[in-house]
Symmetry: D2
Subunit: 285 residues, 4 copies
């Protein structure tokens, strides 16, 4: 995506005329649409839309676009936003000791496959510090005090307040976030869970999978809500295993799925492709 | 798809205002859009659209819809059509001796998973006659005369003329159709080739695959053109093999991919989801 | 597998010398091994083996092979069996109203992709009778009496007693078998469950999947035990879905996975490739 | 695999008694077999075997094991080797400017997912130098002189002579190696080709794929031989694309497949799981 774009993302009650109104507005403004998706959920009768507009075709700033679009949004009771690709989102990455997801995201970031800013990487361990710092990134070490978790989370909460992230990515952070942090960032915290949810919620899912004797293992990227591993799912995938595979093999094979699924989920979110609807997601891939 | 729908399928040179024009037209007519997709090919600057409209929302016949839409189509130099789900497409199925693809399509037809009419099944062998006839379908046996292929194809050509198919499906028909038949039905003949094209064009692709030592085999559903196995691809898939697999195993595993890929390709075509653009397809899945 | 084979299937406590003993025995007898697999479970220290021997290479009947092998089996405390491909297994197929799994199995049976005998197809409905009978197979209609299930299951139990099946395949039979039938046929009843177990146990798994907003749906072939959907898993697979897919789409896409997974599971079982170990399976694919 | 193991890898003409001889030998020596695979190619009547033996169970050095096994090897005209996990293989990594494959391999190396030594990373560009050096690895920059390729390759050849690699991995090296280097390292040079071979041999396979309009793209890990992209295939995989995907999307999606396929192929090779047989491979996964 070399040129600057505006992304218009809409959800509202469905009725005849929404596409006509939005596309006529954009045509009148001379906006060149480079990508467009819409979807109508027949059950809830709700409408979802994502439009990508070449910023140069409009020839005026995003503030004016928002102002001019506002009456249409009101008319159709839209929940809406317009984002600019020129302003990268701020993503705080959180990890523990395992490097696979963090390394993968940092590779995609430094190779510009995914475009975003990283105010800091936060970890409860020091294992990944040197690697992160090689990227000239801030590494916040907030040690997990097992006897007093509240101290840890209060320090974490303060750091987040300062860092003002648009998104928080739990790249195998391995701690359950307290409710108040979850609720402060609704639809902004992405987690990778190392199972095919809703199978194997909670701790040690690969051990659970081995115990049940499944023939595929998976990973799930989802938004974090106050209920553990129960938030809206963004992306999932699986990999085949067989009786030869030990727990260590499951963990090894699973890592590859985890990082791929998290990278896809993060890309969808960064590019404003994910719309949350109740406990489900619409993903305009 | 329980209710009757109209499907509006468009391709034309891209310019600002097409979506606005079409969606405003449909909104004015009161048309309830149940599914919509569009795509702009940046290389050729060409625009593609598929809209599904609830027929009851319009409350007038398709002929009138075509008449009213006609000026917009002219304005944008559209190639377009409006089809009705109430009128099932006529599909001539052609097979040889192998049953897997034909059985699969007939199952989907009799279970109404795919909705279409079958004027006849044509085969150069008698193996599948009894099975086809159990379905109360006509079975045309046009024997392949190996010494005089032209006689066979002339009989075939005459049969097709009489049957007036909208679509011809080569469900492992195993004969190369002559150019004149190919060119009479452009974009209407679907073939299933038992390899991942463009690998292993032509005869005995599983033997070619075994000889090359590949680790996956595949199948390709494509439109038939005058050049062998070179027409626009609609759908492809693969399955993993390994050194244990004999040619017979490849054939067995391949059959499952072949029938799945053909069924998907046929469904896309029947539901007007495939738009041909040069030697490629846009598939609005 | 055109020639007759013997299949030797073994499980026993692991110790040094088992492979040597078995393979030396077979070498002494002049047995040509066409396929061989073994596996040692490190956790339970248990050993599993499957050997396929070309029957002609032995030049004597299976009874003698069993007799001669018996001392080795005793020495190593083996649980073992030797089966003959010349004697097809007897498979009772049970279905309800949906045709996809039954049709698929019958296709594989009549095309000889899978080799077995069918003493009867049992159903609680008449929908599939004509189709089954076209295959010259017995169709036992045992109506499900919703007010008195026990009568239904007692009739079913009697039929099974008469039919003496080696295997019972629940090809979407849609009834929960009573404990006594389950326990009469341990490791002999194959079920296809239309979810990726252990996710979505029980009724209406596609509805459960839609409610949870998963991005993949799956199917599981497992042995039936007294606990619902909890028996040893033989095979699983998944297919991708997205927000566009209605429940009907899930059911349609799921059917293709169900029949493929059931066919694979059945083939593994028919070819003596599955060894049950606690609640898990070793599958020598 | 935490404990030291010996790996016995064999190929020879098939005849009755090989498994018996090898397993009886190992049983006599008290060797604990932790993994075992064999395969008989019916076409060429050739036999392949891989046995993993717990080194502690033998209680004597590998040299003695080789000596004692030697008579059996002679008797059956075996091509064979015994490797030790205690001696990591020496892997020279070669890359150009793209980081995805190299980063992925280095991650697996530093996390000890894959165990091997890296005498040096060789590149014709400086882009990856700093990243490689952070790992405390030697970075050999051998600039590609476009006017005089022979100078480049002669310097490369000299470096390889000095580095004495067991394996050379072309991690998107982007240069065609001259015949003399290829033939010096038979079955030791692994390449990742960014297509599903034999489709799209040679340059710019993603452009070729886009031009043909395929619906899946792939990657192939193979041994390098003197004929371009025609060596024995170790591993392949694919990923789905559609009409929306630009060449840049193909490249992005393809990168994820490339690195996964290369990592799998490298693991198989490092663990002595790959046996070359003519232009094919037996891979004991």
């Amino acid at each position: 995506m070399p040129e600057d774009s505006f992304r218009l993302v809409i959800s509202c009650p469905d009725r005849v005329g929404i596409v006509a109104a939005v596309s006529s507005f954009l045509a009148r403004e001379g906006g060149l649409i480079t990508e467009a998706n819409h979807y109508r959920d027949p059950e809830s009768n709700w409408f979802f839309m994502r439009q990508v507009i070449d910023a140069r075709s409009l020839n005026y700033p995003v503030a004016l676009l928002r102002e001019r679009f506002s009456p249409i949004a009101s008319e159709f009771s839209m929940e809406w936003r317009i984002t600019e690709t020129a302003i990268p989102k701020k993503v705080v990455l959180m990890a523990s000791r395992q490097a696979h997801c963090l390394s993968d995201i940092l590779y995609r970031w430094r190779s510009k496959e995914l475009v975003f800013d990283i105010p800091a990487v936060i970890s409860n361990h020091l294992d990944l510090q040197s690697y992160v710092q090689w990227h000239n990134l801030d590494y916040l070490h907030i040690a997990a005090d097992s006897t007093d978790k509240s101290k840890h989370f209060s320090a974490l909460s303060d750091s987040l307040t300062q860092l003002k992230p648009d998104i928080i990515v739990l790249a195998r952070y391995m701690q359950i976030l307290p409710s108040d942090i979850c609720s402060r960032y609704p639809g902004q915290i992405l987690n990778i869970h190392h199972s095919f949810l809703p199978a194997f919620v909670g701790a040690r899912p690969y051990h659970q999978a081995a115990a049940r004797g499944v023939k595929l293992i998976g990973a799930t990227c989802h938004y974090v809500t106050e209920e553990l591993d129960a938030g809206p799912i963004i992306e999932q995938d699986v990999v085949r295993i067989n009786h030869h595979d030990s727990i260590d093999d499951l963990i090894r094979k699973g890592k590859d799925v985890e990082k791929t699924v998290l990278a896809r989920g993060l890309r969808y979110h960064l590019e404003d492709r994910v719309l949350i609807h109740g406990n489900k997601t619409i993903v305009f891939e």
